[in-house]
Amino acid sequence: MRLLTARLSANRRSRFAGPVVMLLALLVTGGFYTLLSPAQAEDSASRTDDVAKGRELFLVGCSSCHGKNGEGVDSQAEGWYGPSLVGVGAAAVDFQVGTGRMPMAAPAAQAPVKKIVYSEEEIGQLAAFVASLGPGPAIPEAEQYDPETIPEDEREEAIVRGGEFFRTNCTACHNFAGSGGALPGGKYAPTLIGVDPVHIYEALVTGPQQMPVFSDEVLRPEEKRDIIAYLQSLEEQPAYGGNAMGSFGPVSEGMFAWLVGIGSLVGFAIWIASHTARSTKKGIHP
């Protein structure tokens, strides 16, 4: 022990002690600096990286319809084969690819929701690439779309307000209960029940397919969030009047009335008119 102390103190007094301490201090400072401060530099490097990786994914999975640089493919006869993606923004990519709508399996009137093909990381890279093509709406932050961020005492008010916006702006296509509806030519407004809040928000700001755009300046982010809160309250509500049959209104209810209601009435009519069992024994009563 004594020997060790002696050696250490000897080293401390060495002429290299100063430079070594300096070097250590620099390393520590540099280490902390790398850890804490230069996030920006690294971020921008990784963003460039994301754009490059996204471009690779895009060339393989998307370019056959949207063109190699996202400029779109115009078929002379029938308009856009795949529309231009310049300026649609990261939000459009996150919505279309994140719900499985894109890539489409085949050209159709509308892209249906299906199994998601890309991983979350890959969707981020694709979004970064498409966002680099031109300015467009970014993927929203949680406080913009998540009703969980509404303080508890304001929630009820928010739901009521959201209901008003919903009935004014959304019900024409998506039905009074958000269960969707038909459009001409094989198109349809999809159900809003069970849709991720972030995807509802992204659909509002980007206007996918036939859906109109609802920009943040006109329908403000908190108003969009209220609409989402209202939709969630619809999901939580029990079907007070009994089985809602998908909330499709007269379509499903009328079908039930015709098939089950009138069907069972016909069954009763047949039963009433059918012959009862007869006996071959001689009757006691005349």
């Binding site: 307000r161 702006n169 198109k187 329908l219 009862t276 007869r278 006691i284 005349p286």
Partner: protein, 356 residues
């Protein structure tokens, strides 16, 4: 029944002779088939069983009626209702019990008539519809006597004053229902839109700048006077009047690529950089429509599938609507917000006779 003819097959020979002898109905009335009794008619045990069965059905019905009353008080309704299988327990229980109570009575009654009530076939002959001559004469005599006794023919004063009283009874009806009038005047031709009225987002009342509106955007908009009447030197329209005026003044503001729009000559300056405004009232029967396909520029009415092309002056391209959708001319004010430059140039909503 007097000229009974034996069926042709019953007597193999001598067909021709029989026909020669036939007078009256050539085809025999086969009469009623032999009545076959039911098991409950011949077997007392079956009869008892049927009786018990029917009584049980009626008993079950009573039970359901009692259960209805129990369910009525047992399940909570209101803001926090009891729930069963994701449905309101009260409604489900009330519907089921009442429905089953009625169904059991129905099944019981039918079983009763099928199994126990007599079912021997009977014949009931048709009767002539005309009353007998005696009845007819008696009726006419009674009417004549009544007319003579009341003296209605002899006393025209009473008859006429009675007719007058009956006519006067129409007056209370006219007075009570007079608020169906007066005639609408020009309210069918006018809305609250006017020159300089700002276009604001419905519900929030946010005024709109053109640069906030993206291509493909749809805004359900209203005139600002429903939210703030001050800039127009008037009171904000509220309450019942607001409901009435809001229905007529509701518009949708949409933005398309300016190249896609084909305005007719006098509407060339009715839009702002591809932003156009149309009435939301379908010209067929007035359903509110905002079902807009941003890629095709078609606006669809969900009621009867009328379809309007908003890039082509609101022209009807499908469905029962007869008139194009009324367009509201737009401009931008000093502060850069969207305003109307006048009211609609034609009545909004469904067509009516006086429009010709």
């Amino acid at each position: 029944m007097t000229d009974v003819v034996h069926p042709a097959g019953s007597d193999g020979h001598g067909r021709h002779q029989e026909i020669a002898e036939t007078t009256g109905d050539p085809i025999a009335d086969p009469g009623l088939p032999v009545h076959q009794p039911r098991p409950t008619d011949v077997d007392p045990r079956a009869e008892k069983r049927a009786e018990r069965q029917i009584a049980t059905l009626f008993g079950l019905s009573s039970l359901m009626a009692i259960l209805f009353c129990v369910a009525y008080f047992a399940f909570d309704v209101g803001s926090e209702p009891d729930v069963v299988l994701g449905m309101g327990a009260s409604n489900v229980a009330l519907g089921l019990t009442l429905g089953l109570a009625l169904l059991f009575i129905g099944i019981g009654v039918i079983q009763w008539s099928r199994k126990l009530m007599t079912d021997t076939e009977i014949v009931e002959m048709r009767h002539p519809l005309r009353s007998s001559d005696a009845d007819r004469e008696e009726t006419i005599a009674a009417l004549t006597t009544g007319a003579n006794d009341s003296g209605i023919a002899r006393r025209p004063l009473i008859r006429n004053s009675l007719l007058g009283a009956m006519g006067a009874l129409a007056l209370p009806a006219v007075v009570a229902l007079r608020d169906l009038g007066p005639l609408p005047g020009d309210v069918l031709y006018k809305t609250v839109w006017r020159e300089g009225m700002r276009v604001v987002n419905d519900v929030s009342g946010t005024p709109i700048k053109p640069e906030w509106v993206r291509v493909g955007q749809l805004i359900n908009a209203e005139p600002e006077i429903f939210f703030n009447g001050e800039p127009y030197g008037e009171e904000t329209i509220e309450g019942h009047e607001q409901l009435v005026e809001k229905t007529k003044a509701a518009i949708i503001v949409v933005r398309m690529q300016p190249d896609d729009i084909t305005p007719i000559a006098e509407r060339e300056n009715w839009g702002v950089d591809g932003i156009l405004a149309y009435s939301t009232l379908c010209t067929h029967v007035g359903c509110p429509i905002s079902l807009w396909e941003q890629q095709t520029h078609h606006l669809l009415c969900p009621c009867h599938q009328s379809t309007f092309d908003l890039a082509d002056n609101g022209k009807v391209i499908f469905g029962p609507a007869a008139r194009a959708l009324p367009q509201l001319p737009l401009a931008v004010d000093d502060e850069g917000y969207l305003i109307a430059t006048s009211d609609f140039e034609e009545p909004v909503g469904p067509s009516f006779w006086e429009r010709g």
